[in-house]
Amino acid sequence: MCFRSDTGGGEERPKWNNKAEYLLTCIGFAVGVGNVWRFPYLCQIYGGGAFLIPYLIALVFQGLPLLYLELAIGQRLRMGSIGVWNSISPYLGGVGVASMLVSFCVSLFYNTIVAWVLWYLFNSFQEPLPWSQCPLNHNNTGYVEECVESTPVNYFWYRQTLNITPNMETSGSLQWWMVVSLATAWSIVYICFVRGIETIGKAVYVTATFPYLVLTIFLVRALTLPGAYEGLIYLFTPDWEILKNPQVWLDAATQIFFSLSVAFGGLISFSSYNSQKNNCEKDAVLVGVINSATSIYASIPIFAILGFKAHTNYVTCLNGNILALTNEFDISDMNITVENYEQWFDSLNGTHPSRVSDLKLKTCDLQTFLDQSASGTGLAFIVFTEAVISMPGSQVWAVLFFIMLFSLGLSSMFGNLEGILTPLHDLKLVPKWMPNELFTGETIICLLLFLMALIFCLGSGNYWLEIFNSYVGSVPFLIIAFFEIIAVAYIYGIGRFSDDLEFMTGHRPNIFWKVCWLVISPLMLFVVLVAYVAVQAQTPPTYAAWNPDYVNFPNTEVLPYPDWVFAICVLLSSVPVISIPLVAIYRLICCMSGRHSKDSLHNNPNPYANEDYVVELLL
């Protein structure tokens, strides 16, 4: 075992019990809710099967090299993200700090999404499902107006779950049921996390594998539903023309990037608990491929169910028209059916056009219903819940779906928290006077994150979450990853890195990896970063507000961000990455003034240490 880089302090670094735990944890971290609710949406709007081409190209040339790089440096240097980047170059220690800060911000809002999933899960144990019907108003004369104008599903999400305010300026109050769900989410994360990878390693046996079981069950169920076939054809019919649109390539690259969860620091932490003689090349390829395969596999049942939902909506629309025609012309009950509707309509319109037009029949087009796409929370909490109502045995499907989302979110939270805690442990920031097991770093961080995440439990919480999602969960990662790859490829040196890889895996990296690290990946990252910022700069900063008093309600009102909110957005994007130049400047100043850095991880050059005589026991 090489003694070059030790954790210090004589304390042995925790180890994975077996390879399976490590792989499952990495896969669980990479496979998150985005695989289920972001990828199918992108597939749908970007020409179905054709989207797979830019997606797979981005995976091979950008995703896998970055993944391999992170796993390798974590395994070699055996430290969390801050320690690793400090070791590679003291001037780039800021990259680690930025990773930690970004992981901190992401943990804040990601667990709130998990809390929402828990809330829906708790509510799925009712008959009938609470989002299937409108509640009555206070004097029991009719249904609540807001619910009647929109849909019961929308009402349950916006009013009974979020209790959303009409705009961002109105903060509203803390919604106690949300606080309770958030507390549950954080407690569950804490209990899985309290002993570090010892408990995480056990938890991932369930949280990483359960989603696949549920997806398979849904696949089998969904394929037997009417309309599933149309949904799948719609999803996978390739539209090759779409490849000429640069936006597709940009979205494919960003999707692969965020889906693999690189630049969080979590992967570095996980691989740092490995023994150094582990083949991280195989691990990286395995995790990357499984992540993409899961995305594709998940999109099949999702789209089958969306096809079923579109079909149900189409049939309901048609039935409404049929009822109107039947009642108006006193035709025998059920003479007009979905199949012969067209003929009846034509004949009636021919004989009594004025009466037919007075009925104000809706135009029912299956394609329009299929086009109603949604991603993110809209897909899970509005579209999918509506589909589940029409399925026989809705409670079972709702419970399964939300447990699946919960496992996906929980396993990703492990990685997020590791990205915060491992660097803190390595920096030994936990004071010595902490008396007992109760007040470990995990407890403090979980408590702190829970208290800070209470802003998302306010009435305007959902708007804030969208801000965090768009501004923290995007540009900072691209910048961090860019610096990561530059640091390793050019500052650490590709030769030295290849030596390390030879030591760990037994063979030098082949030409493909070298070319990717040196040229292709940095170039792709840079182009994606610039294009992403350019696109964001062009779209005016607005948000969609749910305002029942809006003229066009139930459509959401598009409002611009207030100035103070926009300032916060800019701060959120820039503060994490500002640590990169700040630390570099600080180190430069220290270096120029000739003082040693007080950082305990900075390698103090010992004139008596001769590396040639370090004993390397090959295990």
Binding site: L118, W119, L121, F122, N123, F125, Q126, P135, L136, N140, T141, G142, Y143, V180, S181, A183, T184, S187, I188, Y190, I191, V194, R195, T199, T326, N327, D330, I331, S332, D333, M334, N436, E437, L438
Partner: protein
């Protein structure tokens, strides 16, 4: 003779009068719409004159139930404008005076009171047996004492708290066991030697047993 003429007039006039009372959009009448195939599918019965008679009987029952003093009969319910939908209009005449119609409001009250019985008589529901103008009362929401989600939440949070306490207790016990083990006297000297403790001083590194002067290993 006169009686005979009067009798003939009544026979002819009464249905004509009845027809005048019951017509489409009658001010005191209601339109009824029945959707048999929607409700019963393949078990749908045929709507014929017997069913119409049954309807008259049911309406008469509803009127009797509401106005408990007056005895309504099948003849007091007049039906007209039948279509194949199935839909028709009906009016209710007073049992004392067959030319006088019962006001709409009273008929509505009677129907509302016995709506459930009328629906069940025809194996239909509020949606498939419609009285146009009489809106069904909305079902009262089922409000359980404790919302079900709170119960599920209670179970989950209880399990989590139990887990946290169990983990903390087990780690405390482990710590105590370790401390007990360290202060135990009569520990194996060899153990202490292996751990590199010599004369009570902790040495770094591993004790090399090849250099022990233990007589057990050498037999000279």
């Amino acid at each position: 003779m006169l009686v005979w003429i009067l009798f003939l007039l009544c026979q002819v006039g009464a249905p004509a009068l009845a027809q005048d009372l019951c017509q489409r959009d009658a001010p005191n009448g209601y339109k009824v719409r029945i959707s048999l195939k929607t409700a019963l599918g393949e078990d749908a019965y045929e709507w014929n004159q017997s069913e119409m008679f049954f309807f008259q009987a049911t309406m008469a029952f509803a009127m009797r139930r509401h106005f408990q003093m007056e005895t309504y009969n099948v003849d007091n319910i007049i039906l007209c404008v039948q279509t194949s939908r199935v839909s028709f209009w009906f009016v209710v005449t007073s049992p004392d005076n067959t030319t006088m119609l019962i006001p709409k409001a009273d008929v509505e009250k009677a129907v509302r009171m016995s709506r459930h019985r009328i629906n069940n008589a025809f194996l239909l529901s509020d949606r498939t047996l419609e009285f146009l103008g009489i809106y069904p009362t909305l079902a009262a929401p089922v409000n359980p004492d404790t919302p079900p989600w709170l119960i599920v939440f209670g179970v989950v949070i209880g399990a989590v708290c139990a887990g946290i306490i169990a983990l903390l207790v087990s780690s405390l016990l482990q710590k105590r066991r370790k401390e007990k083990g360290m202060t135990e006297d009569g520990q194996d000297e060899e153990d202490m030697q292996v751990k590199g403790v010599e004369n009570g001083i902790n040495l770094d590194g591993t004790y090399n047993r090849g250099f022990t002067d233990d007589d057990r290993f050498t037999k000279l």
